[in-house]
Structure formats: structure tokens, C-alpha cells
Symmetry: C2
Subunit: 116 residues, 2 copies
Amino acid sequence: MSSDVCDITIIHQDVVDRVAKEMVKSPSATAMADFLKVLSDPTRLKVIQALRHSELCVCDLTALVGISVSGLSHQLRYLRNKNIVKFRKEGKLAYYSLTDDHVGQIIDLVSKHISE
Amino acid sequence: MSSDVCDITIIHQDVVDRVAKEMVKSPSATAMADFLKVLSDPTRLKVIQALRHSELCVCDLTALVGISVSGLSHQLRYLRNKNIVKFRKEGKLAYYSLTDDHVGQIIDLVSKHISE
DNA sequence: TGTACATTTGCACAATCATTCAAATGACAA
DNA sequence: TTGTCATTTGAATGATTGTGCAAATGTACA
């Protein structure tokens, strides 16, 4: 009924095999976790929510998010590297905006789930 | 004198006001981040993906996820506290399953976003 | 030149977290 | 009872990370 591989004990070998076969069909868990980690921080979430409504410069984002300017800048770089936001320079100011609305859709779904 | 003028510089006051008014309509960023943090870990994601296909005992989950038994148990408690999974005892074994498929929908959306 | 302002970056620190080991709990069988 | 197996728990640890401070970069205007 049970079999040993190394020191792992499998109790329902057939079920494990079936589920394992199903699991490989979806993207790697690390890739998905990596992406979801971007959204798992209040500051980054606020930034994204704000940018969904309007393109914004760092100054104004700071006021909306409630964090130090440098702290925000660090997060903006992070979001830039993950291709979530893009920016354009206009004189002294840097205007940030979302690259697309993929994250927006996910946030909406989570939003709906939270306030049920 | 109990209040200071904070030294935050707002450049486009009208835009900031408008966006700020929009932002309060959605759930708090901390609540959403808290929930998304659950999904931002490969191990927990594998657990959830596995449980979407079948109810499973800890032993079999260990084999599917590839982590120590106690490590998995810690994560299962975490998921239990967040109401993502539930479990029933049957003799020595504990069978875990998802409480609902809300997380599944979110994972599917992320999945679709990743693989393109 | 200068000064003033917006933004970025490097460094440091505190806090969080995922993991493992060892020990404890609980359930069943002999 | 005793022993074994499945699971949980506590403690310790290594790694990651969000943040602020101070300095640097870049831009515009006197």
C-alpha cells in the first residue's frame, strides 16, 4: 500500500502520480510566485492602484502612497525591472505609468475576493 | 503646537486629489497584500495547485511539493489560518483540501498572464 | 557660473520568513 | 502496556527585503 523512495513515504501512489502529471501542465510555481511577489506589498500595490487612474510623477506618487521619496524610488525601480511600470522624463520630473493592465485585472479579482 | 507641516511636495494637486478619491474605493492595500503574500511562495503555490486536483494527505503532499514534512506542516498551518485550506482527520492521516476555488481563479489568471 | 529642486543610488539596519532539526502529540496495532 | 507511523510544534538559522538617510546625479533658471 505504501512505497519508499529515498526517505519520502507515499501513501496513495496512484493519486500522487495523477496529480503530478496534472501539475506539470501549468507554469512553474517559482515563476508564478516571483510575479505574485511583486503584488504582495502594500506600497507597490498603492503605486499600481494610483497609476491605474493616472500617469503620475514621483512627487505626487509620494504623497499618495505615504512613503519617503527614496523608498518610493527603490520600489519604482523594482517595478520597472519587472516591466510593470514605464516612465518618461519631462524636464526635472519623471512621469510613471503602467505598461499594461494585466496586473489591474488580477488586482480586480483579488479585490472582489476580499470584499465578498 | 502639535502639528507640523509635512515637507511633502505635491506638484499636481488636482490630479492627486482626484486619484486619492478613487483609491479609497478599493479594499485596503494592506489587506490585499496580505492575501497576495499567501500566493507569493513556490511551496504554497505547489500545495494549492496539487489540492486543486485532489484531496491529499500530508505524506503525499510532501512527495508532490518536494519539501520536508515539518516544513510542509508549517505551511499548511499558515494556509489553514488564512482559510485557504481545510482538513479532515482519518485515523493517523490528515487529508487536506481547498476551502473554495477563489485562489484557483486568481492562479489561472496569473498563469495566463505568465505564459504569453 | 551659481542655486534650487526632482529623482536616483549606495549603504545600513530591522524585520519578516521559509526552512530544517529535534522533540512532542496522537492514533492504531500487537 | 509498548512500538510504530503520520503529523504537529518549537527553536534556531540563513536569506530576503522594505525602508530611510545621506550623497550623487540631472535639469532648469537666476
